[in-house]
Symmetry: C2
Subunit: 199 residues, 2 copies
DNA sequence: TTTTTGACTGAGTACTCATTCAGTTTTTAC
DNA sequence: GTAAAAACTGAATGAGTACTCAGTCAAAAA
């Protein structure tokens, strides 16, 4: 239990770093073993294949991300549902900023490729997105109760807003646009989406 | 000119199909040569390396995409700038639908990785995005002249709307959400963003 | 003390893949 | 028609790769 545990964790940690930074194909098993100061075989002792390790990294990220989110929302009080939406947006952006490399994982195309034939992988992705979108949806519903948000389709609007925020994170990590330069416009637009008179 | 031209084009065409469908790493040179009925060496005669071929595919896609867009916009008349924005959105979605596989190219992470050390690749991506965003921006400016759109920051709102639409395309290709199920909400939201009273 | 167990090792295996190049065929120029 | 140039070929190369496995070692169980 003492060292073995540590080594498996270390492998997972280094694999997360390397897969996040360089992707699946540009990270070899021996890259990971070197970074962890472990023999190649040890990796296969703990994880049966490279793909399994890759999935373990995703699973780990999923758990960290979801618990970080619920911790944040539980520890904050929001005046209105609209404020809660805003809080969720800015928390998502700050998380993406803080663990930028990890967020790369979400945008790594290879996961979606694996997901096509691996239901397990698909489920991880699905859980990540649905739990994130859920946060927005719940905030919208709360806002509709306290009248800070209009009677819109909460589920669809939540998806749209999440898409928007996630897309901005994506452009930011690809260095094609800076997220902070557009923060105010983003919040503004989300307010418009949720508060403007229904047509 | 006769056959040589054809073969180079055929290689580019098959490479586009295979890279779009399976990605860079899951497409080998011999996959491409088999699909084109050409010897491996021929590929290297026309393109110096696999990466160069990959970039040629991107360049080709860029040109096709941009010209398809301007052809569409020039052949249509729009009542207002707001209608033009709507037209651009629905055209983007229909293009993404029609050449779904090709659009994968835009979301293939590998390009962004190459872009990090290859200014040429970065430029292609930058041109694709900036010309697409430009279309939205111009439509917004026209709308501001004809009063169908409020006095918003055209450049930033154009980026936001593009991000939103592109993000939806992404979720659609990954089969995590169906774009057509959300079309009305999308248009609605864009109207809100561009027409709601400024705070 | 002896045995057993499970974590760990790293050289070896079997393979894939991009790239090369010496040579052949086809096209163009004269 | 002939020479030069260009297009094309595919077997060979060599650098990598994920994964295996026979064996080491330390600590727990007997």
């Amino acid at each position: 239990m003492p060292r073995s545990h540590t080594k498996k964790e270390a492998i997972l940690r280094e694999a997360t770093n390397l897969f996040s930074e360089h992707g699946y194909w540009d990270t070899s098993i021996s890259d990971i073993s070197k970074a962890t100061s472990v023999a190649d075989g040890t990796i296969f002792y703990h994880f049966h294949s490279k793909e399994e390790l890759f999935l373990a990294v995703l699973k780990n990220f999923k758990e960290k991300l979801i618990s970080a989110f619920s911790a944040h929302l539980n520890s904050h009080e929001f005046e209105t549902g609209m404020d809660m939406v805003e809080g969720a947006i800015s928390f998502y952006l700050s998380q993406a900023n803080k663990m930028e490399k990890r967020f790369f994982l979400l945008h790594r195309h290879h996961y979606y490729q694996i997901a096509e034939h691996n239901p397990n992988c698909w489920q991880h992705l699905e859980e990540i997105y649905s739990s994130l979108i859920d946060i927005f949806e719940q905030a919208i519903r709360i806002g509709q109760k306290d009248r800070s948000i209009k009677a819109v389709d909460a589920s669809k609007k939540a998806f749209l807003i999440f898409t928007l925020v996630d897309g901005i994170v994506r452009f930011n990590t690809y260095k094609l646009y800076r997220a902070d330069a557009i923060y105010d416009e983003l919040i503004d637009s989300c307010r418009s989406i949720l508060q403007s008179p229904t047509n």
